[in-house]
Point group: C2
Amino acid sequence: MASEPIARMSTQLARLPGVGPKSAQRMAYHILQMPLDQARELASAIWDGRKSARLCSTCGDLTAADPCPICANPKRSRGLICVVRDPRDVSAIERMHSYEGLYHVLHGALSPMDGIGPGDIRIRELMERLTGEVEEVILATNPDVEGEATASYIARLIKPMGIKATRIARGLPVGSDLEYADEMTLSRAFEGRLEI
Amino acid sequence: MASEPIARMSTQLARLPGVGPKSAQRMAYHILQMPLDQARELASAIWDGRKSARLCSTCGDLTAADPCPICANPKRSRGLICVVRDPRDVSAIERMHSYEGLYHVLHGALSPMDGIGPGDIRIRELMERLTGEVEEVILATNPDVEGEATASYIARLIKPMGIKATRIARGLPVGSDLEYADEMTLSRAFEGRLEI
């Protein structure tokens, strides 16, 4: 159908998340008509980036340097660790520009249905980091079944150590409409109400 | 915010059509967690593809070989040339699996508003192809203002040469609802009605 380089490029691009066969082909045509140096820069950003990517041996975030820039930053509070599921959750939280502690990336969530137990995610590595310095562990796993299960499991391990374990608030998203909120979210929002 | 390889990769991916900053970052994280050989294959499909891409010196389609596989195929009818705006229109038509003629890619459409005149698109190259062998030119430019203008312009050049110039039908898309058709489409569908 399409010529060989277009077909090969489309197949590869269609493996990216959110890219279907049609948009992959559209991207391939775009790339074939790019200036040569732009296409080279795209390909090398992909390959050099992937080649240099490793997990920070401390927090498990994706990084080019080990330790990662966050773990290496002396200004970040060593008493606070925020536990997340994925590296992309780290960048979501960094976008707030207000969190000043460290992270711990689990690379997954507990899910007995899928056979994912505590030994399959980076919980042991978290426990090894909980030395005297750490005062609070913020459990910022997703507010879904697996994320809640993971947060409770970790909280049960941490509390006996005398370290505070907190969970991010569940409630109505800012800018949303109460009328359209689901019952679960609404009941969490009521439970978590704060005095004003 | 995000570490350097992620930022560089996201910037590059966000240049692709239909990719915003958020989906570019999502793709970048996906790529960073890909097996190494998959990332290499993606990068090399992009770079090798772009490097090998050229325009067919006959039809102007994007291709790795010149002449392109369609122009080189002895089974394609040399009496029929389908004129389109972009290389991706060629693959749309090839997906029908029923067109057996050749193509001519204009790489643009007439648009006086944008200063695009007949000398800026591959009309001269089309005229040079209209030797005795060619019986019909199908004008398959888009059914929009620029596409219609381009089709009429080319038809006016071709007709005096005794070559048939046809225009693809405008009408209701298959599976659509007459109630929601715009007046222009509906009036074209009436004008183009066929006896059943």
